[in-house]
Symmetry: C2
């Protein structure tokens, strides 16, 4: 419980603080400051790409992106995640830090890096064995062997287990035969496929001697060099360009069909399952379901990376919007000069809670990236850590990418017409990040995975209880627990709902007390999970067909996952702030923490009110405090975005950031502007009677 943050005196004396942007940046950059600086230098070097792209044709843009990718690969920036023995950096945490930071620049470069080094290279590393590592990794890392990650099919995206591409073992030739059985089974949206990839890691149903062994991954050459040394599709491989997309034009997404393409048996990535020369299938993981999830568990790094990239893309948008709002004036409220946008209460309300959430997500991302590093470096090897990581990665990817969509949109609107011009980065940010909510796992499907884990844990508690014997439970200390989860608890809840001030702590704890904020989010999470479980159970008990039960409870299940993710993000932010030494940086981050926590509570205050966890008076207090925190943070907004350290060269928004045109800079308008509610306050004050 973070009471030391909450009650420390500096939080009640927020004025006159002067947080240092350099110190704040050091806090955000963390242990990988050098890695991030390397990426920033590379971004500056290739910042020209951002200006070129609007006028490049698609193929030229794609080739330029490839050129940049290969150049930054040469600096070591993209190889941190690979073992040193194959030319990598041997530091998974560094690899995530580098990828995240790359999101400050052109996002086609980011996604191409993700495809080549994360998905394709990662699959060879994680699913392959020494033979594959030696054959491919060095050339993957230096960018000379380009590859695709061919999982998704037109007919099956989220439901990977139902992929329809087949790989049939041919005993006679010791080969696998890859086949696309029909058009819906073509590989689709595959990055690197339309133009650059020579090989692909292809996910297909493995068939041996008539038996299906489920989805496995294979290295498949998809292009060969013709007599003129040009890359052309390999025999039996058909490739089609996905064509123009909403964004990410610099990535060559394509479709692939396989017409009995033969590959040697060795091309099975066989870390988790092998096929012998005699056609005998063998795996240490007996359960096909578990084998499948172990195989696609390697996707977790991609999810952590995309989540981090989305959070950093939000930082670019926040930087633009805050800096614009600190320069741009609009309408006089009083006096000669027009007001700065950021001095308007509504503008603060639009931007500052998003800024606080961006900081919170940064902290959560740092924690998840640390967990990824620990699990994939073998520091933590237990199943529980791995499952926890998978859930955290799924949740944060969904939360972070939706945050990016929302933040970029709000920031664009907050920059008006200037934000609509491509010169401002918003056009690219918006178009390029749009698909983040879909790829590397559709957000809703990911939240269902999170919820599944929560519900399984919830049910397991009871299962364990059964095994231990209910008598012991009921007769022992666990009674409270049982009561809480039975009808008695429902009754209690109903009673609490009747009380105007359902939270008996309200008198004792202030809304700025971190322990209060965390307690609220924890309570909600527990309740929503329990309630989702009850609904599922009662539906099944009532004999309703399970699909229908699920359909009806689905929104509730997603709400449980959201409540869980919001709680874990807040906890990560609390832990981050607590880890800081005393000082103005900690003070300002403490204010951001309060703003983030109270914004979350405010946004879902209906739930707290409905469940008797909050009184109306407290709900109004929360809203007032959010307003108040916005005003308190307003003087620090610029420093808080400067700490993101997005290089000036990639901000690329002359009309937003100067030097050209900001109203009022060249002297006040000759004819005073008309404040949209200029005289209204005074008029209302004059005309409404005193006791109204």
């Amino acid at each position: 419980m973070a009471t030391d943050v909450a009650r420390s005196p500096e939080r009640s004396a927020p004025h006159d603080i002067a947080p240092d942007p350099v110190a704040l940046q050091a806090i955000l950059d963390g242990r990988y400051a050098e890695v991030r600086d390397l990426v920033r230098r590379n971004l500056v070097e290739h910042a020209g790409l951002l200006d070129e792209v609007d006028d490049l044709d698609r193929d030229t843009y794609r080739d330029r992106v490839l050129e940049v990718v290969q150049k930054v690969a040469a600096t070591g920036q993209t190889g941190f995640g690979f073992p040193t023995e194959h030319g990598g950096g041997g530091d998974i945490g560094a690899s995530v830090a580098a990828f995240e930071t790359l999101a400050y620049g052109d996002l086609s470069v980011l996604v191409k890096v993700g495809v080549q080094f994360g998905l394709f290279g990662g699959a060879v590393l994680q699913l392959g064995t020494r033979r594959h590592h030696e054959a491919y990794l060095r050339r993957i890392i230096d960018g000379s062997l380009l590859g695709s990650f061919a999982m998704t099919e037109s007919g099956h995206g989220s439901n990977v287990q139902a992929l329809e591409t087949t790989a049939t073992f041919d005993l006679a030739t010791d080969e696998f035969v890859l086949r696309t059985p029909h058009d819906a089974a073509r590989k689709d949206y595959i990055g690197n496929a339309a133009r650059h990839a020579e090989v692909a890691v292809v996910f297909a149903q493995l068939h041996i001697a008539g038996d299906s062994q489920g989805v496995h991954a294979f290295v498949v050459p998809i292009r060969v060099r013709d007599e003129d040394d040009r890359l052309v599709p390999a025999p039996g491989v058909r490739i089609e360009d996905c064509g123009h997309k909403m964004g990410l034009q610099g990535v060559d997404n394509g479709r692939i069909w396989f017409d009995d393409v033969r590959i040697p048996r060795e091309n099975l990535l066989d870390r988790f399952a092998t096929v012998s020369e005699a056609g005998v299938y063998d795996s240490e993981i007996e359960s096909p379901g578990r084998r499948f999830f172990t195989t696609i568990g390697t996707l977790v790094q991609g999810r952590v990376s995309v989540g981090g990239a989305a959070i950093n893309a939000s930082k670019v948008a926040m930087t633009l919007a805050v800096r614009y709002a600190e320069r741009r004036r609009q309408f006089e409220a009083s006096g000669e000069q027009e007001e700065l946008l950021l001095d308007y209460g509504l503008h603060q309300r639009r931007l500052l809670p998003l800024l606080a959430a961006t900081y919170a997500l940064h902290a959560a991302q740092e924690e998840v990236a640390g967990d990824l590093h620990a699990v994939f470096s073998g520091e933590r090897t237990d199943d529980r850590s791995r499952r926890a990581l998978e859930s955290a990665a799924a949740g944060l990817k969904a939360y972070g990418t939706w945050h990016a969509t929302r933040t970029i949109q709000e920031c664009r609107e907050a920059c008006g017409g200037a934000g609509y011009l491509s010169a401002s980065r918003f056009a690219a940010l918006k178009a390029d990040t749009d698909v983040f909510t879909t790829f590397e796992g559709d957000n809703h499907v990911l939240l269902q995975l999170v919820a599944k884990g929560l519900l399984t844990d919830y049910a397991s508690d009871f299962q364990d209880a059964d095994q231990l014997g209910m008598v012991r439970l009921v007769g022992g200390l666990a009674l409270d627990e049982v009561v809480k989860r039975t009808r008695a608890h429902q009754l209690l809840e109903r009673v609490r709902g009747l009380l105007p001030s359902g939270d008996e702590d309200e008198d004792e704890t202030g809304v700025l007390d971190t322990s209060y904020q965390l307690a609220m989010l924890r309570y909600r999470e527990e309740q929503v999970i329990a309630s989702a479980a009850r609904r599922l159970k009662s539906g099944v008990d009532d004999g309703i067909e399970p699909g229908e039960v699920f359909s009806r409870v689905q929104a509730h299940v997603i709400a449980a996952a959201r409540a869980h993710v919001e709680r874990t993000v807040l906890e990560a932010f609390v832990a981050k702030v607590e880890s800081l030494p005393e000082g103005d940086e900690r003070r300002v981050m403490g204010m951001l923490l309060d703003l983030h926590a109270l914004s979350l509570i405010e946004a879902d205050r209906a739930w707290f009110l409905e469940h008797g966890r909050m009184s109306s008076a407290r709900a109004k207090q929360v809203r007032r405090e959010v307003d108040h925190l916005c005003r308190r943070l307003r003087p620090h907004a610029r420093v808080l975005v400067d700490a993101f350290a997005v290089p000036e060269e990639v901000l690329r928004a002359p009309d937003l950031l100067g030097p050209v045109v900001v109203a009022g800079e060249q002297g006040a308008a000759e004819v005073p502007g008309h404040h949209p509610l200029g005289e209204t306050a005074e008029m209302v004050a004059e005309k409404v009677p005193d006791d109204a």
Copy 2:
């Protein structure tokens, strides 16, 4: 009070209804069905443009758009709003209907039409007099004289009254001299300016003999033909291309500087003010403020048009998402075949309330367009009607354009990766409509205008009361009214807040009762306005500087405007449903009405709970009913989008709508897919004890 809709028996027996899409379309198309059909035919004829644009360079795209604009102009589609004597159609309502429907197609064409015929042509018509009409209108209507509407400057967008371009009368030459005093005063984002316009209506501060008369509009030739008959900038005019934008690449937005450009005195659009040869300024409207607002009041048609276009762009997105969700299968819940997306409860929750809101907005738009027709055709000439129209247009423009942003985004995400390809229309819809929330009045500024009207009315009530004498008021029947607006009311409110079931009507009225729904929205609106007024007043009374008062109350003021707009939209939808004859179309629209109303109440239930207007039990009932309505409407979703009658040719989404690829169509997957929560329901049911 719409109790006949609410309590009519068909609403409690919603099953087995079979609304007819053709009849529904007739209801939506309304009195302008023929006009809409003309536009649909033109859209189909030029649908090829939608496929071309991804590969056209900017200039070619712009010229193609101009070509299409001129071709549809020749069919009369774009001239409905002009008087018949100058070659127009003489029907303003028809003009709005045509424009809205055009939003089904390429939105660069839409915006170019809006610039040429709405803004430029509209300004000449509304601000000019016979001399200007005779000189320009016929060539404007046939698209041979292309023009710009040069109002916005880089430094001043929303604050039009503070524009800095000057037009100084030169008595000696009988001319106005236009001048851009500095870079921030350049005209910016001006449609048609970068490539096609020959003339512009320029808004500038009129200076005569040292006196400033405020913003006036002038016809200014900005391009002339050179010896090779090419259009080049006129002497003293500098034009720059705004370059690449987020969307709407087919519109040539530009910047314009004036360096002492001379135009004849006759070029002042002089409907509301004249300048004589002797340099005497004269206007029938004495107040400069009122003159200014009368001048820019002509913008109202543009706002009504943009709001309608946004609503219709939402219809395209809804059509794609619903039709995809009716074909696409993903994950087995039970049985052999995967489930249709639209059979998932969450997917219904994501799409169907937006569909209901789209219908509600359509009804509201029809009403506002009718009001526009009445006011601008001279059927209603009173000031009150005009002010009401301006407020309604501002509110609906903001609401409709935000609805479009949100709906297009949700529909894109609901279509997964296929929705990200440009082949699906989402890319263009999203990029092109993004600026709708900004142009024709920034949405937040528009909501402030709405709020200003509400607060002025609120204060005026008291002002009138003062004039009549408070004695009479207090001694008479108006006592209730006074009490309601004074501290006693605040006390009462506080008491209600303490009651768990503050709404004493809850036992008597059902949530499906339209009178209940309307009462809730009306109550909230009144309360929020009164509360905003109180806050403004107490801030001023406390001696806080008015700018600071406004800043602090601003979010509240915007909330008042939102509450007002939501109430008026709901009322329009109620009126629309009530106007229909009995039948299945009325029944299904009644369900949409319930879903829309309850979704609004659900979304803001925190407010109702906080203000003691709703009990927790009622709040939960509302949520259950929204779920239930989604399930009831699900079988009718396809018919409801078919009724929008978006031509197949412009839907252009082969991967979403077929015939290519939908999972499961070519037979069930050989390996069963894994439902993300497949066994969870059963597992939970099994393991959670019965009384949990």
